[in-house]
């Protein structure tokens, strides 16, 4: 059964230095509040797993929390580069970042086989691509029936999965809807899972066959309204595209980035304090 606890204690209890952490959410429901709390608690040497690193991992990488990144597309959606990711890969700042890259189909299959407790996934891809040359975790196998050659990748089994969802009930059962990405698979593939939610209700009133994660599949559920900002939560708030654009400026320069992290994350107590400071910065046109 999931404990319903503060995000602070959930991160303290379940995310440790050196863990393999998957924070998922395909542009929708990205668990930014949880990402910030990991920075606040100054976690180190994490292996970060995520199909689209997005601004959330750009922040974690720039803040020096990551040793390795497993991903399939590392850009700022609709804007351009992730400058902190690039700086780490191109110039080892703030520290070298080992990268293991895949394709989206590959990683999403690897989450599925992880959730299925299989050691590997099979897919039709990579013939002719140079990715297998640089990623020893992309191999090829033969079909025992047809003899066809297919690509194989190892399952993803994170130590911790972190997602954001719309609702939980008081027992800790979680409901999400809209664009689901690989969140369910990430949770079921992980040893432990943390879910931040927009609201906690008496009854989920889930439609038939909705995406529900039973409380007993989760380690912790945290009530963090707005916890996916600047990404969006379907039915609650829109994506803050302005922030994604502003991030390009904030993250381009190391000092600007460091002072932003210091002021907005390290100097704030929690996500609601962060949001307050961010709103002030916005007024001051700094964002």
């Amino acid at each position: 059964m999931a404990e319903i606890v503060s995000l602070q204690s959930a991160i303290r209890a379940h995310v440790h230095d050196g863990d393999a952490v998957a924070m998922e959410g395909f542009t929708h429901l990205i668990p930014f509040a949880a990402g910030h709390e990991v920075i606040r608690q100054r976690r180190k040497d994490l292996t970060l797993i995520r199909m689209t690193p997005d601004v959330i991992y750009d922040q974690l990488i720039g803040a020096g929390c990551a040793r390795k990144l497993i991903f399939s597309w590392g850009g700022n959606p609709g804007v351009g580069s992730l400058h902190r990711l690039r700086d780490a890969v191109e110039k080892d700042w703030p520290q070298p970042l080992e990268i293991e890259e895949h394709g989206h189909g590959d990683l999403s299959n690897a989450y599925v086989s992880g959730a299925s407790n299989l050691p590997f996934a099979v897919l039709r891809a990579y013939a002719g691509s140079e990715l297998p040359k640089h990623n020893k975790n992309i191999r090829f196998i033969e079909c025992p029936f047809t003899g066809e050659t297919l690509a194989a990748v190892p399952s993803i089994r994170p130590d911790v999965a972190v997602i954001h969802a719309q609702k939980a009930d008081r027992k800790g059962n979680v409901l999400l809807w809209g664009i689901l990405g690989v969140q369910k698979e990430a949770v079921l593939a992980a040893k432990r899972a943390i879910v931040t939610v927009e609201e906690i209700v008496d009854n989920l009133n889930a439609p038939p066959n909705a995406c529900v994660l039973p409380s007993w599949t989760l380690a912790a559920v945290c009530h963090v309204p707005g916890g996916a900002r600047p990404s969006y939560a379907h039915g609650y708030y829109d994506r803050d595209n302005r922030f994604y654009q502003a991030w390009d400026e904030i993250s381009r320069d190391r000092q600007t980035f460091l002072s932003w992290i210091k002021k907005h994350i390290l100097a704030t107590e929690d996500f609601s304090a962060f949001q307050k400071v961010l709103r002030e910065s916005a007024k001051e046109q700094l964002v």
Binding site: A125, T149, R239, R242
Partner: protein, 261 residues
């Protein structure tokens, strides 16, 4: 009737949209592909089925998405499935007629690079990476590439082969045993190229109005071939241009109005 004033980007997007037939199932990336696919949906191909890798099937966005997972895509889709299902049942399942891709680098056989400029281990420029391109290039029945033409992008040799086109030409792709047929067209701001039916080398089959062969050659890093008959693209019609500009205008307004955190 055709429009008087339009720019080369508009011509590129409109030329790409014309390649999509009504009812086609189209796997759409963000940016130019998404713009061209939605333009097609709003003009000659109302029944086109747009699939985005984040999960929406049959998406009908009011405005162009800034991100691959914008809520608007889910709101008006026929259904929204998980991302693994998109790649397993829908793309790999063989249900995608056209995969739409962009690229940072492309070679004469329409192989593409979206990974790095320079050496993989110590790149001069780290690009976003593969995304869904390796799977789309493998499994979509056909692939259409859309990108601005320049000698920096159209290179003799890729710094990295992320997603396969026609590999080394001839039947070399066929030998890989991939389900899809690979790239059938490359649409740029200057022209349209198609793979030669035997050599599979990209060949200019259509020049946009006012574009010269010299311009195309200058913007290509290898000695570009031209088809025996090179046609001139039909310029944008008033309607195509109006629908495109309205779409881009609506989009700018919508995203500008996005609330600050």
């Amino acid at each position: 009737m055709s429009a008087a004033n339009y720019n080369t980007t508009e011509m590129m997007i409109i030329a790409a949209s014309r390649l999509l037939t009504n009812g086609a199932v189209c796997f759409v990336g963000i940016g130019l592909p998404s713009t061209a696919a939605n333009l097609a949906r709003l003009t000659h191909a109302p029944d086109i089925v747009l699939i985005y890798e984040s999960g929406p099937i049959g998406a009908k966005p009011e405005v162009l998405p800034l991100s691959i997972g914008d809520g608007d895509l889910a709101e008006r889709a026929d259904t929204v499935v998980s991302t693994p299902e998109i790649f397993r049942y829908w793309l790999q399942g063989g249900r995608v007629d056209v995969g739409f891709l962009g690229a940072a680098q492309i070679d004469r056989f329409a192989n593409i690079n979206t990974t790095v400029i320079g050496d993989y281990k110590k790149p001069t420029t780290r690009l976003p990476g593969a995304g869904g391109a390796p799977e789309i290039a493998s499994c979509a029945k056909a692939v259409v590439l859309v990108l601005k033409q320049s000698a920096r992008a159209f290179v003799k040799k890729l710094d990295f082969l992320t997603s396969v086109g026609h590999l080394d030409g001839g039947d070399s792709r066929k030998k890989l045993g991939l389900p899809g047929a690979g790239p059938v067209a490359v649409v740029t701001d200057l022209c349209i190229m198609k793979p030669h039916e035997v050599s599979r080398e990209l060949t200019v089959t259509q020049l946009h109005p006012g574009v010269t062969r010299e311009q195309v050659q200058k913007a290509t890093g290898w000695e570009i071939r031209f088809a025996e008959i090179v046609q001139e693209s039909v310029p944008p019609t008033e309607n195509e241009l109006k629908v495109l500009r309205d779409l881009l205008h609506r989009t700018a307004l919508a995203h500008g109005q996005a609330p600050a955190a």
